[in-house]
Subunit: 124 residues, 4 copies
DNA sequence: GTGGTCTAGACCACC
DNA sequence: GTGGTCTAGACCACA
């Protein structure tokens, strides 16, 4: 597992966990890997994984049963989607628009590239 | 001058300088404010401004004449645009597409919002 | 640790590190001393050491793992040699030739002195 | 006139003057260009040229007649050669040898390159 | 523990 | 006047 050195690792781990939850890897209320197990998997200090889990718990995406482990919240998927939506309209889109204007990029160019993106991902 | 606490100040200063160069505030080979002057303007320690200038010099956007000051490179604008373009296609766009697919957002929605964005900026 | 007052300390530290890497003190991907540790060793402010490390990182000779420390790049030795070679053929050699011609020094003189140099270093 | 930004300009001007003296541009006791004239020629602040002249005067290479100008010393050429010789054996040569050993460069390579150097300069 | 950023202030070489 | 370097010390996020 190699991480982007410019973003904090615990956020990258949280991000990956969210995507796996969205992908349906764990149904609601299912146990996710223990801190130690996850740490061993991604070759990272357990404290760092703990921080990811803590972060996701505060966001209402997972919860903890003492002595047992961490579990997906019932509404984990909805929560994640809601956060992503907020981030999308607050950050991603304004950033996109600013760059499009500055670099004189046509909306059609974006659409075309998106079609390609969908196709290339379909075949995976 | 107030800065975003989440990004380092020296990078924000560099960013602002780039936008002022793009806006044509200094033609190619023109002298930009001295380190001390800029530091006084944005209420920041001169060392911090120096770091911004150093950063931009390494990026080939400004250069230094000994004992005189910093000057915009002949190709400063091209360089900045090239960096921005790379960031756009490498980071912004993939991020956008990933989110669009995940959140089931239609390209038409994006375009529509972009047109609103352009209109609201025109009136400024 | 005493430094040459005519060159900046951070570059001299970088230079020393390069020579230690060339000497094989740290294999590829090995952790080098932390900023604070090195600063204590050479009796210098940690900021100054950090600057050396930053410099070497930009040259692709060492890299950083967040919260852990700096490590030698896999190709550190090759990179250093390549930089030294470039400097040699671009600066040292032209300087030598210019002086040889100007001072009317015969190549044989140089070779002879080089053999003496090698011998005197062998005995160390 | 464009200068190497890494060395101080006044030393570069002094260096150029020395080479012109060695080339016989001004016989002993001949007047060299005034500070202002030289400053205009090389596009530099007169203070900087003055510093060069001052430097050369301290080295016994030129001397000043108040109100008239700067003149080459009778033994200017000998002095310059002596300084260059000292620099050569103290700095250039040790630097060369260190690099040759480190980069595993054969003396024959140096000689060969020197022959090429002489040829290419002859034709100029 | 690690590095990263920022400040305040000093000193220097250079133009 | 210009930038460049260094120090001392603080504070922070991160592992």
């Amino acid at each position: 597992m190699d991480f982007d050195q410019h973003k904090s690792i615990y956020l990258q781990i949280a991000e990956i966990l969210c995507e796996r939850i969205l992908a349906g890897e764990w149904p609601p209320e299912e146990k996710i890997p223990s801190v130690r197990e996850m740490a061993a998997n991604v070759q990272v200090n357990p404290n760092t994984v703990l921080r990811s889990y803590d972060f996701l718990q505060q966001k209402g995406i997972i919860f903890n049963k003492r002595g047992i482990g961490y579990f997906t919240e019932t509404k984990a998927v909805e929560r994640i989607q809601s956060y992503k939506k907020e981030d999308f309209y607050e950050n991603v889109l304004p950033d996109l628009f600013k760059n499009m204007k500055l670099l004189n990029i046509e909306p059609n160019d974006i659409i075309e590239r998106y079609q390609h993106y969908l196709k290339s991902n379909d075949t995976l």
